[in-house]
């Protein structure tokens, strides 16, 4: 058996064998006490009865001057002795009885039991006098005779334990081993699995005690499978998504190489550069997403959402001006939230950039930061074509692009927005802007604790 030292099997076997041994020994101790008591009563009764017998018998029969030595007729006889004294003389005694009275005169004033030392042995002696008080009878029994009986009894009880305990341990070992079979089967099943096999573990005949564990394990496997599937899909999607910008760069570069006139070559080279910028932006978005997906909680510092929005709007303003778009910010008061400033910037830039990109030239894009009860609210609204209901539902899908819009984008922006909002414990929803008619994205974030009270 090459079980590890702290195996469950060993613990169970030791526990069962130990408990059985303790119980057995307890029972033996109880029996010992009880039996000793009963034995004492019984033997004392016998001594008293024998003494009474001797008293009456002596009155009728023993008249001799010489003491009579009664023969020892049983192997236990040496351990029992008696004396019959008549008028101060030893009239009758067992062969092993001493010459002197078995109990000193001082202690024989009345009938009763006494424990005395005779020839170095402890004796239990019953002393009695006849009715005329001329006959003194002592009936004694060696105390160790009683102990021998008790010891024999105890031995009879404990010997089977000595033999039985190893047998019991063996039986328990077998039983526990059998009982733990499902556990070992589970272990074997798991050990034989390939690391990427994440389908649920199915075992026949699962004991009720193991069912929660198995359910927990399968739940975990399912979550890991979902996670890994997501990762796999993300990697594949990311790779595919990079193919288009690369294909564009390649095609444009080849066009530039094969161009006959300068205008054509120049156009192709500019397109090549634009393709590189697009690929770069895509890579940055992918990195942001993967960092967000790694699940590291964003740093929690107090960030003024209004100030952050001001910075982002300022940074994107040239892009808006180039297309004659009217980009405006409405942020009357500071809106402190707990969060990561860089991530909140990314969030804002994604939303505003998206609004600018999808709005026609000359359109209005409005950014609003305000306090809303216990939270901070960020609204980015545009005058673009907005989104159909179905498209809005699919926004969360990675790489979902609003098709036919003419703008080039990876469709990663919304995923990034959703993840950043979730990481900050907020909510994001999209709808139609009542004022501008285009898409309106509303982000609710919890206000930072101190300022929420102050507000």
């Amino acid at each position: 058996m090459n079980e590890p030292p702290q195996s469950l099997q060993r613990r169970l076997v030791v526990l069962v064998a130990g408990l059985v041994a303790a119980l057995w020994i307890g029972v033996a101790a109880f029996v010992w006490v009880k039996a000793r008591h009963e034995l004492d009563e019984l033997h004392d009764g016998h001594l008293a009865q024998a003494a009474a017998l001797l008293v009456t018998q002596h009155l009728r029969e023993v008249e001799d001057d010489e003491p009579v030595n009664a023969p020892l007729l049983h192997r236990y006889a040496p351990r029992a002795a008696f004396q019959v004294w008549h008028e101060g003389r030893l009239a009758l005694r067992s062969a092993n009885a001493p010459d002197a009275p078995m109990v000193a005169a001082a202690r024989t004033a009345r009938d009763g039991f006494a424990t005395v030392q005779i020839d170095g042995h402890a004796w239990r002696v019953f002393a009695t006098r006849g009715a005329e008080r001329d006959v003194q009878v002592f009936v004694g029994e060696r105390v160790d005779a009683r102990s021998a009986i008790l010891r024999a009894m105890l031995g009879a009880m404990l010997q089977p334990l000595a033999v039985g305990l190893p047998l019991l341990a063996l039986a328990a070992w077998w039983a526990v081993r059998r009982g733990l079979l499902p556990l070992r089967r589970l272990g074997d099943t798991l050990a034989q699995r390939r690391p990427d096999a994440l389908q649920p573990v199915v075992l026949d005949d699962v004991p009720a005690e193991m069912a929660p564990m198995l359910a927990g394990l399968n739940g975990l496997l399912a979550r890991i499978a979902t996670l890994m599937e997501g990762e796999r899909r993300f990697t594949a999607d990311a790779a595919h998504e990079l193919r288009t910008p690369i294909a564009a760069i390649r095609a444009q570069a080849q066009v530039a190489l094969g161009a006959d006139d300068d205008a054509e070559r120049r156009h192709a080279l500019e397109a090549t550069l634009a393709g590189c910028d697009r690929a770069t932006r895509l890579v940055e978005q992918l990195l942001t997403l993967s960092r967000l997906e790694a699940g590291s909680a964003p740093a929690r510092r107090e960030v003024d959402l209004a100030a952050t929005a001001r910075g982002v709007v300022a940074a994107l303003a040239p892009q808006a001006v180039a297309r004659d778009q009217d980009l405006g910010l409405e942020a009357a008061q500071p809106c402190p939230v707990q969060g990561d400033e860089t991530l909140l910037e990314v969030l804002l830039r994604n939303l505003v950039d998206n609004a600018l990109r999808y709005s026609p030239d000359g359109a209005v894009v409005q950014v609003r930061v305000e306090r809303d009860g216990p939270g901070a609210r960020l609204v980015v609204a545009d005058a673009g074509p907005g989104l159909a209901e179905g498209d809005r539902r699919r926004l969360g899908e990675r790489f979902f692009r609003v098709l036919g819009s003419g703008a080039s984008g990876s469709g990663l922006g919304w995923s990034i927005v959703e993840r950043i909002v979730a990481a900050h414990g907020g909510r994001v929803r999209s709808g139609r802007s009542a004022v501008l008619g285009g898409l309106e994205v509303t982000v609710d974030l919890p206000l930072s604790a101190g300022s929420a009270r102050a507000a």
């Binding site: 594949a236 595919h240 998504e241 193919r243 288009t244 910008p245 690369i246 294909a247 564009a248 760069i249 390649r250 095609a251 444009q252 080849q254 066009v255 094969g258 161009a259 006959d260 054509e264 156009h267 192709a268 397109a271 634009a274 393709g275 697009r278 098709l403 036919g404 003419g406 080039s408």
Partner: protein, 224 residues
């Protein structure tokens, strides 16, 4: 050779159109699936380059519906998806070739030429008829072994006729083969090109079917 390019990515579409034009194709570029299907039905394209991730109508649907409507021109599917099941799905849906982005422009052009050639039952890379040999890849023509210099449109016209030997092509059909959208076509452009071709290659090669159009006589010898 006039081809339809269906690609929604502005940069890639622009690059492919410019590149294929450099390599002698007439390219019409559409950016969504609906337009692709519409144009495939309306124009006699020699071939189509179809991106799968198209707006409004997925490329796969465009392909399936085009085939359903009996359109037989070769279709080359261009996609970012390279998983084998995707390729199988594409080919089963009626694609003649399946190319994963990014693709080399020259390779794309060669594949298109091969698709067109096979679609016209021409097993050989070079087309031959009555001593005239046309090399679509090199865009060269020889008559009895001697190089003949042809203008772009003349080459394209000869190419179309040689791809369809023994078939009468109307003037309208030839114009549609020769010109992508937005190119002004002179009313007698085809006649002018035929005239030039006859001057350079001999008058027997291209026959006029009065009131209908032109045809290239089948090569009596049959083989190369």
């Amino acid at each position: 050779m006039r081809v339809l390019l269906a690609e929604d990515d502005p940069l890639l579409g622009d690059g492919l159109r410019a590149g294929l034009r450099q390599l002698g194709f007439q390219v019409d570029w559409v950016r969504d699936g609906e337009a692709a299907l519409r144009e495939l039905r309306a124009q006699p394209y020699a071939a189509a380059v179809l991106d799968l991730g198209l707006p409004l109508k997925d490329g796969m649907d465009v392909l399936a519906q085009a085939r359903q409507r009996g359109l037989t021109m070769p279709v080359l599917v261009l996609t970012a998806r390279d998983a084998v099941p995707e390729r199988i799905r594409g080919l089963d849906a009626g694609a003649d070739d399946y190319v994963v982005k990014p693709v080399d422009l020259h390779e794309l052009a060669a594949r298109l030429r091969a698709l067109v050639r096979r679609a016209h039952g021409q097993p050989h890379e070079r087309l031959r008829a009555q001593g005239v040999v046309l090399d679509p890849a090199g865009r060269t023509v020889t008559l009895d072994g001697a190089d003949v210099s042809l203008a772009g449109r003349e080459f394209d016209l000869l190419h179309v006729l040689m791809l369809n030997p023994g078939r009468v092509l109307t003037r309208d059909q030839l114009e549609q083969h020769l010109y992508s959208w937005g190119r002004e076509v002179d009313s007698n452009a085809v006649e002018v090109h035929v005239h030039h071709l006859r001057r350079k290659l001999g008058s027997a090669l291209i026959r006029t079917v009065r009131g209908v159009g032109y045809m290239l006589a089948r090569d009596a010898s049959g083989g190369p």
